[in-house]
């Protein structure tokens, strides 16, 4: 995965490792550990979305739905059937992969606007199901009393334990994804993004690869959803609605979708913006989201990581061809 990425990873790991100890002594910011747990969970979704959008060039406005499917599968299996949470998490990934396959095969034949609309429609349908299947999901009023995650025979309850667990998973997933990108598979994904016809001509089954990367992104969203379930221990359909799908796209775009680091930076930044700093604006929050999305799409298509010459050569072309 390249020397440069290992170095960045080392730096990021050190930062993540010491971060809690920097903020915990100060009361005003000690809850940043909690915010970072959410940032880590969302990062898993956004890493998958970055593979899909930034590398393979396919848009999805359904990531919140996969996040939700993972979350509800975990929630239902553990609270109603007493299944081991880790097993339930695995179950969630299987469900998500299956759903992503069923939806992905016909959807990914579509391009651009139609793909966006199809994933959007799918996401809204899933959300309606969450709200309507009251017996299973608790409906709009939500689902509560979801058991805690256990590890080595102990409940994981403290923010700090969650922090290291979630970020540990994030780094494992990052390493996995960097390896994928720096391989035959990753090259094929970039090839699909650049020129589908040419990719086919050298033997890349473009449709199959698009579906598989869509499934991978769904599986990552599902793992994130399961973690989310056990962290907050209650679920509500509004955490998985269209606005959240758009937020995930926003997180990836703010950071820069052509780089996994961009997805990570964007997610952490936007989680802080959403959970912390925009609270000041209260009702204006939604306007701020719209404005940020617009400004990034119009003026900074390469995202934050494209600022200052970092990956400059890709800057202009960050969005080029994506989803067309």
């Amino acid at each position: 995965m390249g020397r440069k990425n290992w170095l960045i990873m080392l730096g990021a790991a050190i930062f993540i490792g010491v971060f809690p100890w920097l903020v915990m002594p100060f009361k005003a910011v000690s809850h940043y550990v909690d915010v970072m747990v959410f940032a880590g969970i969302f990062s898993l979704v956004c890493i998958g979305l970055s593979l899909l959008m930034g590398y393979a060039g396919q848009i999805s406005l359904a990531q919140a739905a996969f996040f939700g499917i993972g979350a509800y599968t975990s929630g239902i299996l553990t609270s109603k059937f007493g299944v081991n949470p880790w097993l339930a998490m695995g179950g969630g990934t299987v469900v998500c992969a299956t759903v992503a396959w069923v939806v992905g095969v016909p959807s990914l034949r579509l391009k651009g606007h139609y793909l966006a609309m199809a994933t959007l429609g799918f996401g809204v349908i899933v959300n309606i199901i969450f709200a309507e299947e009251v017996n299973w999901t608790g409906g709009p009023s939500g689902m509560i009393d979801i058991p805690y995650l256990r590890m080595f025979g102990r409940k994981i309850t403290s923010d700090l334990a969650w922090y290291y667990l979630v970020w540990g998973i994030v780094f494992l997933v990052l390493i996995f994804c960097f390896h994928v990108l720096h391989s035959r598979v990753g090259r094929a994904l970039r090839a699909i993004h650049e020129d589908e016809r040419a990719a086919e001509s050298v033997g890349v089954p473009t449709a199959g690869f698009k579906v598989r990367v869509f499934m991978l992104s769904a599986v990552l969203a599902s793992i994130a959803g399961s973690l989310y379930t056990h962290y907050v221990t209650c679920l509500n359909p509004s955490s998985f609605n269209l606005m959240w799908s758009i937020r995930f796209v926003l997180m990836v775009m703010v950071g820069g979708m052509q780089s996994l680091w961009g997805a990570l930076v964007g997610t952490v930044l936007m989680t802080f913006v959403g959970n912390e700093w925009l609270q000041v604006f209260a009702e204006l929050e939604i306007l701020a989201y719209g404005a940020i999305l617009l400004v990034v799409a119009l003026f900074l298509p390469g995202g934050i990581v494209s600022i200052g010459g970092f990956r400059r050569k890709r800057r202009q072309s960050a969005l080029e061809g994506a989803g067309t």
Partner: protein, 295 residues
């Protein structure tokens, strides 16, 4: 049973007419620019809420409020193209999708600031009780909706078929370079398409508000269902949009009546997915032409 059925048909046609108008809004912009405007639904919402503002707050007569609301929405559509989409004309499809989504969030947020989160209603366009037909009640407003929808479809069809402007607008979509060469002001036609599309969306919003009220977050779903109608009818097909809108409205109304009212919103979306998956060129679209488009 028979009466229920008739009642569902009537409400299905009413809401279907609204979807058809939203779909026509998509079609106009798509015909001229090949852009799908994800903010289309927000214009419906804005139309309703502005009519509430003009009629309820400023106490204008209803017809004047209707005209003002449509005019304001038209201006917002113009502004959207002039200040935002116009800057991104050369962007990729993905950028354009994100940009129109951003606009829709901005419009929705502004509406929330302006009107709060409560739903608002308007008085019906004509007073008087429901008309009874074979035991089913037809609200006069339903007739207004159907009538205005029919008027829009007919006048647009005439506009695009007969008038010089309409022909010029279609020429822009087919081949902008050639259109420019024969002296059609393409830029102006694009403006016009955004104004028209916003205005028609807003008109749909005004006429539906007396029936089902209007609030700031209704836009997205109306927009999505309207897109379902546009896709089902075949993008760019005005008559197709009308038929498809009615099909969607009826399906939704029957689902709400006979199956489950909770899932009625899902019906149109499931239909949308089925169309996109099985017949993306729509019922009335041309498969050959569809292959050349950007989807």
């Amino acid at each position: 049973m028979g009466t229920d059925f008739l009642q569902y048909v009537i409400s299905g046609i009413t809401i279907g007419a609204i979807y058809a108008m939203v779909a026509i809004g998509y079609n106009i912009i798509y015909s001229v620019t090949e852009i799908i405007n994800f903010a289309q639904g927000e214009f419906v919402m804005l139309g309703g809420l502005f009519a509430v503002f003009f009629a309820g707050t400023l106490h204008l007569p209803l017809y004047l409020a209707f005209i003002c609301a449509v005019a304001v929405a038209g201006c917002i559509g113009l502004a959207m193209d002039r200040f935002i989409i116009g800057r991104a004309r050369e962007s990729s499809v993905l950028s354009l999708i994100i940009i129109t989504i951003a606009v829709s969030i901005l419009l929705k947020g502004s509406a929330m600031l302006g009107w709060g989160k409560d739903p608002y209603s308007l008085p019906a366009f004509s007073s008087g009780g429901p008309i009874m037909v074979a035991g089913a009640a037809i609200q006069p407003q339903a007739l207004w909706i159907i009538g205005i929808c029919a008027l829009v479809v007919i006048s647009l069809t005439l506009f695009f078929r007969k008038s010089v402007y309409g022909q010029a607008m279609l020429a822009c979509a087919n081949n902008p370079q050639a259109a420019r060469l024969v002296g059609i002001p393409v830029r102006y036609m694009v403006f016009l398409s955004f104004i028209l599309s916003a205005a028609i969306g807003a008109a749909a919003g005004v006429i539906i508000t007396p029936v089902s009220m209007m609030e700031y977050e209704r836009g997205a779903l109306l927009g999505l269902k309207g897109f379902g109608a546009a896709a089902l009818g075949g993008l760019g097909q005005f008559f197709g949009a009308l038929v498809a809108g009615l099909i969607l409205g009826l399906a939704e109304s029957f689902c709400a009546g006979y199956l489950s009212s909770g899932y009625k919103d899902a019906v149109a979306l499931v239909l949308l997915l089925m169309v996109l998956f099985l017949k993306p060129e729509g019922l009335f679209g041309n498969r050959e032409a569809a292959r050349l488009k950007k989807f």
